[in-house]
Amino acid sequence: MSFRIWWRDRGSVFWGVVFPLLLMGLIGSVFGRADSLQLTVTVVGPAPDGAPGPAAGVARALQEAMRAIPPVRLVDEPLDRALEQLRRGNRTLVIEVLPEAPPGQRARVVAYIDRSRLQTGEAALAVLRDVLARIERSMTGVPELLALETRAVSGEAFSMFDFLLPGVMAMSIMQTGLMDVTWTIAEYRDQRILKRVLATPFHPMAFLLGLLVRFTLVTLLQAVIILAVGVLVFKAKVVGSLATLVGLAALGAGVFLTMGFAISTLAPSAESASMIGSVINFPMMFLSGTFWPKEIIPEAMQPVVRALPLTPLVDSMRAVAVEGAHLGPYAGGLVYLTAWGLVALAVAAWRFRWE
């Protein structure tokens, strides 16, 4: 019965399942490609070919070395055009090898990066430094003394969707609690549906409990649909245990729907209840690291980030999904989350009215 109510309410299906998936798809495909961190690089030599000299040699060596690095796409074009493309965000790095300096002086290489995309720019610069160091060694004949060997820790590459999936699941759980539950309970009260039930011989507490179970199941169903679509359609990888992930989802569902319940008891009408719900919901959606690493949020906001109850849920779900981590280090956060749930429960029990 409750699933029918959920399914027939296209609004809650949309907000609970379609919207999170859409967000995940959008964000994933726009900002994604973290798996093939692509660096588009242009190397501009001192002169259009010919004129062989040290500088041209450096440019050629750079081009070759860059071409040998898998994530680098090398584009051959004149400097002005390359800089124009860099400004448009189509190049990660533009390298200009300046013409011959007076003999005995260092060859000068200028790297242009886009200041608005500092992260990839920095990554490209790191590659460049490495390449330059190697070229210098080969030119000066100093043998390589240290060998750096890199081994991927998780055998599989990390994709943007891997990162997004647990965040979006957590968001959907919170959203159902703060928006759906809040509105529904307040609406049932305003419409006197609760009172109608109270007038039957059915035990009123059993009815409330049933409502909570219904919302928990609906929330978990939504989370599982998002998980399935994330894995099957967006090819997100879940490293850790699915059971732990679903367990965390259940804990989150319990906490956030109790919060929704509490809000509905504080609000005088269904409309104001859903307003309060949204006011709490939206900042959390963006500040708890659901879509992007919470580290990029300005330092001044970090105390807020840490205080939000969604943050520990996102952190622990992501740790399980992406790293296959144990919950040990996240226990504190989860206790904090549970405390929110208990406070909400107290408020709900204290303030609940049938009409």
Binding site: R4, I5, R192, I193, K195, R196, A199, T200, P201
Partner: protein, 318 residues
Amino acid sequence: MDTAIVVEHLVKRYRDVVAVDGVSFTVRRGEIFGLLGPNGAGKTTTLEVLEGLRVPDAGRVEVAGIDVRRHPRQVKARIGVQLQDAGFFGRLTVRETIGLFASFAVRPRPVEALMEELSLQDKAGTQVRHLSGGQRQRLSIACALVGDPEIVFLDEPTTGLDPQARRALWDVIRAIRAQGRTVVLTTHYMEEAQALCDRVGIMDHGRLLALGTPMELIERLLPEARVYVRPTDEAPAGAGGGDAAPPLVDRLRALPGVTRVEQPGDGHLVLLTAQPESLLQWLAGEAHEGRLRYSSLRVERGTLEDVFLHLTGRRLRD
């Protein structure tokens, strides 16, 4: 036992407002009992105390032989309740809704039979939010009947319905009585109480002003009949002898038993009298003698509306 409900000195306050102020009445088994009064008279509060939804501040309330204050859950198993404009789960169908309330009941009646009883079978698969006002009200009553109750409480069951739907609902309510159930309803429509209820209690400002069958109340509180007469002309020429007869109105006023003569201005005279028989006799005699002619003559007893006016000095406002 033929008493379904006993209410003694019921008092219910909301903060400093006294909603129900010392009300006492009994409802007999198998009757349709109506609480009648304007909005805010305390009808709904009285009903909600009987239904176990509100705890009274004072007084004794017994429903189906059970003390409601002490055992509200037991009472709820014996009654069916239709609340004033209570909503439904809008996305469930009619059949699912009745089924849901059947699952709340102790001994549920079959859903299909109930839908037939309330002419809802055509709407069985319709989501509740698409129903009309009359259909919603019938669904509401179906949910009240699903637990096979001895006593059915209907709070303003016909408010907001068009006259046709209202009359259809009266038939539904009479059918409930025919099944041997007791019906307690509230209404602020006097003609509804008069047409539907076996007994009524008239409430105003939290007090019960009068109690009885509609006819009893009218006879007790409005002993006078109203006689409407429309004379065509006063005295045909030559009939009354030489001397001028006094005006008809004065002659009517002088008659024994006539307490008042009203002239609404539409050609009618309205006579209030405790002895309508002698007045009619006199009118017939005058006509026979050729001293008076009239085009219409009508005798009416008062209505519950007049009873209310008589009791409170106010008209019921809808």
